[in-house]
């Protein structure tokens, strides 16, 4: 933070002169003209102290300047010292910040004031600016140094130029509102509405309509009225689509919802309620229980305040906040949002009341920064999107080019009119462009989404489904994802002895074991120190256990819940009266209660907290049955016990108590009662690993996926969990802390990330974002888990952002691509398996769709190139193939579940082509040609049946196309040949779709379906019963609010319901009939069918994908409509004798044989790629 803002040119060694000269010297180094004069003008003589924080030989003169882009820091050193107002100053840092960002100003000031005194001597020892910067950078990362200096309220009021008692005046507030802007989250760049409208007016479908409209005005057609009518349809269609699409950005909406709408504020000395958007820095706000915090603010008064920070940090436990007016260093590492005397916009007060002075509003709040980060990150296209776009463009270009060549050949060479040749162009174009591809891919992904939902992964963005399949690295949290997100006491150290505690979750049942022997409850109650420790754990506690079904849940903090559970395991019962509570505070690191336990008259103090902190507060120890002074040997032993527990990644708590008459009459404040305590012992808690995680990690390893743990927890805890779940695959796991990676440059971090598996502990969200960004730069496909608002940027940056459904914040869920409904790591692995299956499915149905193209193309090529050859398939025939065979069966291939062994291969390469030239050539010239041969065989068979053709004769003997392709004038014989060519395109595709379901396993083998899928399907068949007819649920309209828009929708819904009434009535009759037949007929039949299919696996294989079966029935049904109904006049077909239909199935049989032979050799290890 500070090192980044300092530059070597802005460091001055050997400052000389008085303070005023020093200001001139430092101001001279600044890029801001007249800086020293500006400071002098503001500070004057009276306020110089306040404008220059001074402490421990360090001065920080500071100034806020309007329209400054970034803060500027100028550092000066003087070994001899400079005298200023009775101080001797050796380090001077001139801080200049943008006036528009008071939050940044306060944060920098508090950070600088804590850091510089700590490294003052080290800085003075430096001669070189670069070395000095290294000292500053290193100090910023040192966890031992305090992070912030607490400024006094007086100083805060001065910095914000406000009166903490009377607040701002109305005039000043209005001026500040004009300067700082309203307290709202601003939206980033959005596509302008007119561009969205234009995009909808030129969608693929709209372009078709444009073409139709333009054709109406073409010479020779001359249908201007129709053209105008079609233009109106285009306009209405485009506007409708635009209105559907025109929705606001949900992420920002959710963030905005977190901010209060109104708030109470002190203005002109009076409390008034204003719109939260009108809040400005310097305002003094009043907060009460239940209020949403409207802006980032510093508490100036606080009574029993607890805040819910979960929207910012994801931390579900309420945090205590209090007023702190002492100019002290806040010991320990704190994030800005963790400071105990601050409240932040987007959080809420769940207890207490407070008065706070606002320092950050709108986009300058912490939540505003997150909104900004989230909006700045560009959503990148998934690999599949990129490939499909390229593929479709390439195919469209080839098809268009080919169509144009033949258009000119037809027009200029074959003697067709231009419009006739244009029909020809459309035929070739439609034949080649796989327009069913995109809907089928979408369906395949949507089906994947559905299957993933059943495996606890809700995918929000369809392309992400496939991206999951090529995931190479999973960066995941520890708590709740790898572990169960509950705490359990597993060990106790009392009287120098170790006791193990067993149990499951929060169930209050478990055993105490000492030296491998069970410790009965009677012995526990006789062991004074142990009994007292359990009593302390139970009483010094705010949580309770609640039975929830067969399980128990904790109301309150999980750690405290674990302690209640521990006490209940020992059968602890009893009542006590709580006289006072000193809540846990992160600065004190302990809590205490004063209670009256039954049968004792005098009060007792029970305390628990961090072991070393507690040990410092104890002077006695309860050893055996009596308290004695705590010796150095005791302290050493307890410290070793603590180290031993902590080194195994366990969280350790110490317990102590104090009683006796001396407590009568003393105030129950922490300073008075949390001292001279009697030490009881230690308890070690752990968050157990989820049972299924080690297996899921093994699955990741066999699938070539690396798992990187990124946690905010301690390194040792992370390491222990990492070892338990099997990270590192038997090799040494390395752990890096957030502080360590902050000191590394990008190349060093990349080197770390290139290692097999790594753990990152004590990391902040910005570290997570950096790790994700670098992994992506390294070419990895990264899946990242997160739950807090501040995880949102990393989630959005990742290829797959995964939010936790149970404990994730709304903002994290909104930024993520996928939500885990059970927060479980193994669900990610299941989702990856589905993702891989989807890519395989897409490849399969692409092969299927491309195989049918040559059947549609060859007739045009032969007709155009060889005079006298009749056209065997018309444009309408091509369209019929497209709608009949390309869609539903292809969709059936898209929903095939994962094949066995799919997780035993490494992830596919990001640049692995979905569609290569080899693939197209194989599809066209091997399988496609084979299918086309079958069509021509049936075509000639029809010619033979008609008596027009005999073996050895050429094409010209077949019934000829009408002149100028005027199909209304076509002969019946020609139309029959069209049918004979068309029908095999359907029959061969039936075999094709069945064979494509597996690349290696025979369709006639029992192994075609995995045992799990076979069992599930058979169970579903046996258990199938007709659905019950239910009347639809009706909601009182008035409950939903009588807005006009809703009323219009309700009216439409009513109209549609009325229209559908007859159909619904028929449906009701069918369902009621089936219900009546359920017991005598349907249930026995379902059972018989399941048994039959179990015995006849080939039949089961053939019907196990209902969508494929539906597709086959659909295309056969469509054939009937095309051949035997008035549609035959639109599509130009005529019925043929029954034996021609039978003959057409020869292609089905030949293709099945061809595919089975191919699969046989593939199972033997031959790739046979050339055969497709």
């Amino acid at each position: 933070m500070i090192a980044e803002l300092l530059a070597p040119a802005k460091i001055v060694f050997n400052l000389k002169g008085d303070f005023s000269q020093v200001i001139d010297t430092l101001g001279g180094q600044s890029s801001i003209p007249g800086l020293a004069a500006q400071w002098r003008e503001k500070a004057g003589n009276q306020h110089a102290d306040r404008f220059s924080y001074i402490g421990d030989g360090v001065a920080v003169p500071h100034l806020r300047i309007e329209n400054l882009a970034v803060p500027e820091l100028i550092l000066g050193l003087s070994r001899d010292g400079i005298r200023f107002n009775n101080h001797v100053i050796k380090v001077v840092l001139f801080l200049v910040t943008p006036a528009e960002q008071p939050a940044q100003h306060l944060q920098l000031l508090q950070r600088i004031c804590s850091l510089l005194p700590a490294i003052r001597d080290e800085l003075l020892a430096q001669q070189n600016p670069a070395r000095l910067l290294q000292v500053v950078a290193r100090a910023e990362q040192q966890s031992a140094l305090p992070t912030y200096m607490n400024l006094t309220q007086d100083q805060i009021g001065f910095e914000l130029q406000t009166d903490l008692t009377n607040g701002l005046t109305s005039g000043e507030a209005a001026a500040r509102l004009a300067r700082y802007g309203p307290n709202v989250l601003r939206r980033g760049y959005r596509t302008p509405w007119h561009l969205k409208l234009i995009r909808n007016l030129f969608s693929f479908f709209a372009v078709l309509l444009w073409m139709a409209a333009l054709l109406c005005f073409a010479p020779g057609v001359d249908l201007p009225q129709l053209g105008v009518a079609i233009l109106a349809v285009i306009l209405i269609n485009g506007i409708f689509a635009f209105l559907q699409e025109h929705k606001s950005d949900r992420a920002l909406e959710i963030l905005q919802q977190l901010i209060a709408q109104t708030c109470r504020v002190i203005r002109d000395g009076n409390m008034v309620e204003i719109e939260a958007g009108e809040l400005v820095p310097g305002d003094v706000v009043i907060l009460e229980e239940g209020d949403l915090v409207p802006a980032d603010a510093r508490l100036v008064e606080a009574v029993e305040v607890e805040v819910d920070n979960s929207s910012l940090t994801g931390e579900s436990t309420p945090a205590h906040r209090y007023k702190s007016d002492q100019p002290v260093l806040i010991s320990g590492r704190f994030l800005w949002i963790e400071l105990p005397n601050m409240v932040f916009s987007g959080t809420s007060l769940i207890r207490g009341r407070a008065r706070a002075v606002v320092f950050g509003t709108g986009m300058n709040t912490e939540i505003g920064k997150i909104a900004n980060l989230t909006q700045q990150i560009q959503i990148e296209d998934s690999p599949l999107q990129k490939q499909l776009r390229t593929t479709v463009y390439a195919i469209a270009a080839i098809a268009g080019g080919l169509g144009l060549v033949f258009l000119f050949l037809g027009w200029l060479v074959a003697g067709l009119t231009f419009l006739e040749a244009f029909v020809f162009f459309i035929g070739l174009f439609v034949a080649n462009v796989p327009e069913g591809l995109l809907p089928t891919v979408t369906l395949s992904l949507a089906m994947g989404v559905q299957r993933m939902a059943k495996r606890h992964a809700l995918v929000k963005s369809l392309p992400s489904v496939e991206t999951l399949g090529c995931t190479t690295v999973i960066c995941c949290d520890k708590t709740g994802t790898l572990t169960q997100n509950l705490m359990m006491v597993t060990e106790l150290a009392v009287d120098g002895r170790w006791i193990s505690v067993s149990g499951v979750g929060y169930q209050p049942r478990g055993d105490f074991t000492l030296d491998g022997k069970l410790l009965p409850v009677e012995r526990i109650s006789r062991w004074t120190a142990l009994r007292r420790l359990l009593e302390c754990a139970f009483i010094c506690n705010n949580a309770r256990l609640e039975k929830s079904g067969a399980d128990y849940r904790v109301i309150g903090d999980p750690t405290e819940g674990a302690l209640v559970c521990l006490s209940e395991k020992a059968g602890l019962r009893g009542t006590h009266l709580r006289l006072h509570l000193n809540p846990f505070e992160s600065i004190r690191k302990r809590m205490s209660v004063v209670v009256k336990v039954d049968r004792r008259d005098e009060p007792t103090i029970y305390a628990k907290g961090a072991p070393l902190e507690m040990l410092r507060r104890c002077d006695r120890i309860l050893f055996g049955n009596e308290a004695r002074p705590l010796t150095d040997a005791d302290r050493k032993r307890i410290t070793e016990e603590n180290d031993s527990m902590a080194s195994r990644g366990l969280r350790v708590l110490a317990f102590a108590y104090r009683d006796g008459e001396e407590l009568q009459g003393i105030p129950y404040t922490p300073e008075h009662i949390e001292d001279h305590l009697i030490f009881l012992g230690l308890a070690a808690l752990s968050d157990p690993v989820r049972r299924e995680v080690p297996g899921a990690i093994r699955a990741c390893h066999s699938a070539g996926i690396r798992v990187i743990m990124i946690t905010g927890d301690y390194a040792l805890t992370a390491l222990t969990i990492g070892k338990q779940i099997g990270l590192g695959q038997d090799s040494e796991i390395r752990v890096f802390t957030g502080a360590e990676i902050s000191e590394m440059d990008d190349d060093q971090v990349r080197a770390v990330l290139a290692q097999q598996e790594t753990l990152f502990a004590r990391v902040a969200p910005e570290h997570k974002l950096r790790i994700v960004s670098l992994l992506k730069q390294m070419g990895e496909i990264v899946a990242v888990t997160g739950d807090g608002v501040n995880d949102a940027p990393a989630l959005k940056k990742a290829d797959i952002g995964i939010a936790m459904g149970l404990r994730g914040t709304d903002v994290a869920k909104e930024a993520a691509h996928m939500i885990l409904t059970d927060d479980n790591f193994s669900s990610i692995v299941a989702a990856i398996e589905e993702g891989r299956a989807i890519f395989e499915n897409i490849k399969r149905f692409m092969a299927y769709i491309f195989n049918s193209n040559p059947q549609e193309m060859y007739p045009y090529i032969f007709w155009a190139l060889f005079p006298g050859v009749p056209l065997a398939m018309t444009v309408m025939g091509v369209l019929a193939v497209d709608v009949g065979t390309d869609l539903i069966p292809a969709m059936g291939l898209g929903v095939e579940p994962p094949e066995e062994g799919i997780m035993d291969r490494p992830p596919r390469q990001r640049d692995e082509k979905l569609l290569s030239l080899k693939f197209i050539l194989r599809s066209y010239f091997v399988q496609g040609t084979l299918l086309a041969l079958s069509c021509y065989a049936t075509y000639f068979y029809m010619g033979w049946v008609l008596g027009a053709w005999r073996p050895g004769w050429n094409f010209s003997a077949m019934p000829q196309s009408p002149i100028g392709l005027r199909l209304q004038e076509a002969s019946q014989a020609y139309l029959q040949t069209l049918t004979a060519y068309f029908f095999p395109t359907v029959t061969t595709q039936i075999a094709n779709v069945l064979c494509k379901r597996s690349s290696k396993t025979s369709l006639f083998s029992r192994a075609f379906l995995t045992p799990l899928r076979r069992r599930d399907s058979l169970q579903a068949i046996a258990a199938w019963r007709p659905p019950r007819y239910t009347t639809r649920v009706r909601i009182d309209y008035h409950v939903k609010g009588a807005t006009e828009f809703v009323a219009a929708r309700a009216f439409l819904a009513l109209a549609v319901s009325l229209l559908l009434l007859p159909f619904r009535f028929v449906w009701m009759l069918i369902l009621q009939l089936m219900t009546a037949l359920e017991r005598p007929l349907i249930a026995p039949f379902a059972g018989w069918l399941a048994r039959f299919l179990e015995r006849h696996h080939v039949v089961f294989n053939l019907i196990s994908n209902p969508l494929i079966d539906a597709g086959i029935l659909f295309e056969l049904g469509l054939c009937y409509l095309f051949f035997y109904t008035p549609l035959s006049e639109v599509y130009y077909f005529a019925p043929v004798p029954w034996h021609v239909y039978i003959f057409a199935f020869h292609g089905t049989i030949l293709l099945l044989i061809f595919e089975e032979i191919k699969k046989y050799y593939r199972r033997k290890g031959y790739a046979l790629e050339v055969l497709g």
Binding site: A212, V221, A241, L438, Q450, T821, G964
Partner: protein, 85 residues
């Protein structure tokens, strides 16, 4: 009293049913198919060999637009405004 209807066709997890997904894809595809047929019918008017008149073609286009809008509405209902393929 005006009533509105609760959509009960979604499964328990709020994901669309297979029938709905297939319908949305099929309707979009059918709309394009009808659009292409309309183009061919307009071309057929040059030699008066089209079986449909102007009103027939117009109705075909309206039907195609309605099918396309329904398919798109179904899709956007399930997947919001996210960028599809």
């Amino acid at each position: 009293m005006i009533t509105t209807v609760v959509d009960r066709r979604r499964d328990d997890r709020g994901t669309p049913s297979r029938l709905q997904i297939v319908s949305s894809a099929f309707l979009t595809k059918l709309a394009r198919h009808l659009g292409l047929i309309a183009c061919l019918l307009i071309l057929g008017q040059t030699s008066s060999r089209s079986v449909a008149g102007q009103i027939g073609i117009f109705l075909l286009i309206v039907l195609a637009a309605a099918l396309n809008a329904t398919g798109r509405a179904l899709r956007s209902r399930f997947y919001g405004k996210q960028k599809l393929l």
